[in-house]
């Protein structure tokens, strides 16, 4: 008998106003033992989070329902349908959970002491002094420096990685037997991710917990898990020891998932091609105003003296962690963000040009945003979204011609032109990103800023989008500024790379050189964290 046994678990959600129920999980079974790490891996919508939430019975009942025969046994205790009192005894005490988003899973109004102390008080009734000692001990355990002085800190005073450490401290406060970690590092930077994973591994070994790890990231699975269950569309299609599954995937879905990693190199380009975009000493400083008179007391240097040159047909990868200023740089190059310094586009200085006079140029420089869910207006049809640029620049003389151009663009990005009359919500994330690309492409631009175009997408879709972008580049001789934190994707796209940290370029050069022989210590740390999930010694 294992520590936690899940048998034939199925979950369905009631449809809206009498619509048919939607099945999220159809009869999955797995078990997990003390000291073991089991990874549930799958793409978004595969039902892995719902499965994890079922273990603690945290789904929105009664809208969510378990099917007949669903059973979750924790040390002989049946959790499915257990009374609230029993569940409360288990939650946070015997089975604890770490959520994905450390920004929203901590109460912004409570200090660290109060957040962590709550679990101790509820389950152990520790008196304040003892609780305080235990909290400090926990904070040391999760590696938060200067723990004693941080007890009174609020979540907003901590970084994302520190917040996730607090979440973990809360989860392990009562020495749980099972720790459920739902995408614990997805919202974090790669170097921070490496540290958190190392911490989880360390804690598991030290406290003898069972770790149920929910993730979409195969490299995390390979690094962390003893056993793996691959989920898709609510089913576990393959389960086994991690090395075996990775070496010899049996199910076609697993094979596809493993093969989905973006591969290859950027399309060939002519190194002697003319320079299309050139920037010299671009600075974006946001003033910090303080005091009654709102006097400028300092600056946040989002981008600080960045120079770059993009030749025709080239892809320049801009990598860096969140807050490094890479998106701001992209916006500044398109003059969507006020900046200082010189920006030349096709030989013309556009840094000081008035917005009105820039409008004709907008046709030639386009942008694709990270999140395809927020970058398409939900109230416009696909034809309206893609056709807007055509109207602005009067590229189509007749409605028929506009129709034809829209159809062409949609076909080019691999969508059916018949979809033009539909609205964005009817499409999946990957399809929406294709629409966003079609919106940029229909204008026949020369320069496209790609701001993390793949980060919000599933792994297999990422690879498809990368292929699409490369194909379009080869066909139209496009010049890309490719902004990403994902070095794997950058490797598959970029000819040259800029590594940014705190608004400055720390290293630049050809992809080959930066990837294989990084010079700057920060670049080295980034590469190690990204490709080996190795945490740099701190």
């Amino acid at each position: 008998m294992s520590l936690l046994e899940v048998r034939d678990l199925s979950v369905s959600f009631a449809g809206w106003r009498g619509a048919a129920p939607v099945a999220a999980v159809n009869g999955v079974s797995f078990s997990i033992d003390r000291g073991e790490t089991l990874a549930l891996v799958g793409e978004s919508g595969s039902g892995k989070t719902v499965t994890a939430l079922s273990v603690l019975q945290l789904l929105p009942y009664p809208a969510a329902r378990h099917g007949k025969g669903s059973s979750i046994r924790f040390e002989e205790l049946e959790l499915v349908g257990a009374p609230p009192g029993v569940l409360r005894e288990v939650r946070g005490n015997r089975i604890a959970m770490v959520f994905q988003e450390p920004m929203t899973s901590l109460n912004p109004l409570h200090t660290l002491e109060k957040q962590i102390g709550e679990a101790l008080f509820i389950h152990k009734r520790l008196p304040p002094a003892a609780a305080r000692a235990r909290i400090v001990e926990l904070l040391h355990l999760v590696g938060l420096s200067d723990a004693e002085n941080r007890l009174g800190a609020y979540p907003h005073q901590l970084s994302g990685g520190q917040r996730q450490r607090i979440m973990i401290a809360m989860a392990i406060a009562n020495n749980p037997d099972v720790l459920v970690a739902d995408e614990p590092t997805t919202a974090l930077d790669v170097t921070v991710q490496a540290h958190i994973l190392a911490l989880l591994n360390d804690l598991k070994a030290r406290l003898g917990m069972a770790l149920l790890l929910i993730t979409h990231d195969l490299s995390i699975v390979r690094k962390m898990a003893d056993r793996v269950c691959v989920m898709t569309r609510g089913d576990i299609v393959e389960a086994g020891r991690t090395e075996e599954v990775f070496a010899r995937p049996r199910h076609p879905y697993t094979q596809r998932l493993l093969a989905a990693e973006p591969k290859g190199k950027g399309v060939p380009f002519d190194p002697a091609a003319p320079v299309l975009v050139e920037a010299k000493g671009v600075r974006v400083w946001f003033p910090i105003r303080r005091g009654v008179l709102r006097r400028i007391k300092g600056y946040v240097k989002a981008v600080d003296g960045v120079s770059l040159a993009l030749r025709r047909g080239m892809t320049l990868g801009v990598v860096g962690e969140s807050g490094s200023g890479k998106t701001t740089l992209g916006l500044a190059l398109l003059r969507l963000q006020e900046s200082r310094g010189a920006i030349r586009f096709a030989g013309r200085n556009i840094a000081t040009e008035r917005q009105k006079r820039l409008r004709p140029l907008r046709r030639e420089m386009q942008i694709v945003f990270q999140d395809p869910f927020s970058s398409l207006s939900p109230r416009l049809s696909i034809a309206q979204i893609v056709g807007e640029g055509l109207q602005v620049h009067r590229l189509a003389a007749t409605p028929q011609e506009q129709r034809r151009l829209i159809d062409e663009a949609l076909t080019e990005v691999g969508l059916d032109p018949g979809a033009a009359q539909r609205y964005p919500h009817e499409f999946s994330g990957g399809q929406r990103q294709r629409i966003a690309i079609a919106r940029a492409l229909v204008l026949k631009p020369r320069f496209v800023v790609l701001d993390e175009p793949t980060s919000a997408l599933d792994m297999s879709v990422q690879a498809q989008i990368v292929d699409l972008l490369r194909e379009l580049q080869a066909r139209h001789g496009l010049t890309y500024l490719f902004i990403s934190h994902d070095l794997r994707v950058v490797r598959a796209m970029a000819h040259e790379i800029l590594v940014m940290k705190d608004g400055e370029i720390v290293e630049s050069g050809s992809t080959e050189k930066v990837m294989t022989a990084p010079e700057h210590p920060y670049t080295r740390e980034l590469m190690a964290a990204a490709f080996n999930l190795a945490a740099a010694p701190t």
Binding site: F13, R17, V22, A24, E43, S44, G45, S46, T49, V50, L53, L58, P60, A63, A64, R91, G92, F99, E101, T104, S105, D182, T232, L336, R359, P360, R362, M365, Q366, I367, F369, Q370, D371, S374, S375, S377, P378, R379, E388, G389, V392, G414, D416, A419, R422, H425, E426, F427, S428, G429, G430, Q431, R434, A436, R439, L443, L457, S460, V461, Q464
Partner: protein
């Protein structure tokens, strides 16, 4: 811990991102929810499923739904007040000819009389002459709002078979005045609501979208402007000019447009940083078009939600001005004036009671409609 954080709530809808068809050309119809197939239409316009859900939610609120219908029927009837309460017949057949006094003024001479004066169809002589050679079709209530009763007796007269709700202190039929008064109240309210919403939305849009110094200046102006004592201004102005419908509308408009500004401004401040607004700017779309196409639709929900309540406020404002005697010119049919008469003639309770019940009914209906609209647009009740 029993409450699930919103971000963790699994979507009960079929997963959108894990579509393995994302890489291939998608046949039309795939990826579409059942029911949305071929489009959904309301009043001849293609609507999104979200709009459909809002409509369904509104309809599910029985009280609001029926209130809307009752109100629309009452308003619709009052729009044809001339056909329902008038001191002229709708149609006359006289001496082989057809006459429609509603649309054309006839003199007595036209109808076989001697004098070239406008015909008074209540005059027994005229009536007898017409009835002798033909017939007259009267509206159900043979009085207009200004018709003075010819019956002798102290006014206000109590309800009778002639005057169903009695007469006011000048001998005018209360029911007729009520119908015309209802119409003018609602029309005034609608006009004021639409005009002040349009100005308010435009002002809020400009402030929210451009922000910065525009926003700052405009906000200070609104603070000062809203500090002006509206009632005093109206009283002072009414001593200069004789206010009519349009004067009042203009005066009220000067101060009533501020209601929506804050809501719309907040909505615009939020939406101007959306990615699709940025994308539109990157396409080179002009600010005016961005506001109109991309940002304004976000503010419509707030606007529509507020509208029934603004309408209510507008109607109440006109009524109270009429009650105080600073409203529509004397003789106009108005609910406020009827209330004032009721107050002045406590011995004639039908005046005050009629005005009270009609106002209470109208305002309650509108509040119910407003509640239903508000709930139908509430994102917590309608999860997209």
């Amino acid at each position: 811990m029993d409450d699930l954080p919103v971000t963790q709530a699994p979507s009960p809808e079929p997963p959108a991102t894990a579509d393995p068809t994302a890489g291939v050309v998608v046949p039309a119809g795939a990826g579409q929810r059942p029911g949305a197939m071929g489009g959904d239409f309301f009043l001849g316009r293609r609507i999104t499923p979200l709009t459909r859900r809002r409509l369904d939610a509104f309809r599910a609120n029985r009280r609001g739904f029926w209130s809307l219908w009752i109100f629309l029927v009452l308003f619709g009837i009052s729009l044809f007040a001339e056909f329902i309460a008038n001191d002229r017949p709708i149609l006359i057949h006289y001496d082989g000819g057809w006459y429609s006094p509603l649309f054309k003024d006839y003199s007595e001479a036209d109808l076989g009389g001697d004098l070239p004066i406008p015909a008074d169809y209540h005059d027994p002589e005229v009536a007898a002459r017409i009835n002798a050679e033909g017939w007259m079709l009267w509206p159900p209530i043979p009085f207009s709002y200004s018709t003075r009763s010819t019956a002798p007796g102290p006014y206000p007269a109590p309800p009778s078979t002639t005057n169903w709700l009695g007469t006011d202190d000048s001998g005018r039929d209360v029911l007729a005045r009520l119908i015309y008064g209802f119409r003018i109240s609602v029309l005034f309210g609608l006009a004021l609501t639409i005009a002040s919403s349009a100005i308010g939305v435009a002002a809020g849009a400009v402030q929210g979208y451009f922000g910065g110094i525009v926003d700052l200046g405009f906000q200070r102006f609104i603070e000062i402007w809203s500090g002006l004592p509206v009632l005093y201004l109206l009283i002072i102005l009414s001593s200069f000019v004789q206010p009519n419908f349009w004067w009042l509308l203009g005066l009220m408009l000067l101060f009533s447009w501020m209601g929506l500004v804050d809501v719309v401004r907040a909505e615009f401040l939020r939406a101007r940083n959306f990615d699709y607004v940025r994308a539109a700017r990157a396409l080179g779309v002009s600010n005016r078009m961005i506001i109109w196409r991309h940002v304004l639709p976000n503010a419509t929900v707030a606007t529509i939600t507020f509208m029934p309540f603004i309408l209510n406020g507008s109607i109440t404002t006109l009524t109270s001005l009429d009650f105080l005697g600073f409203g529509l010119p004397p003789g106009s049919p108005s609910l406020g004036e009827l209330l004032a008469q009721g107050k002045a003639n406590l011995q004639a309770p039908w005046l005050g009671l009629t005005a009270f019940f009609v106002l209470a009914l109208m305002l309650s209906l509108l509040v119910f409609v407003g509640e239903a609209v508000r709930d139908a647009f509430d994102p917590r009740k309608i999860t997209p």
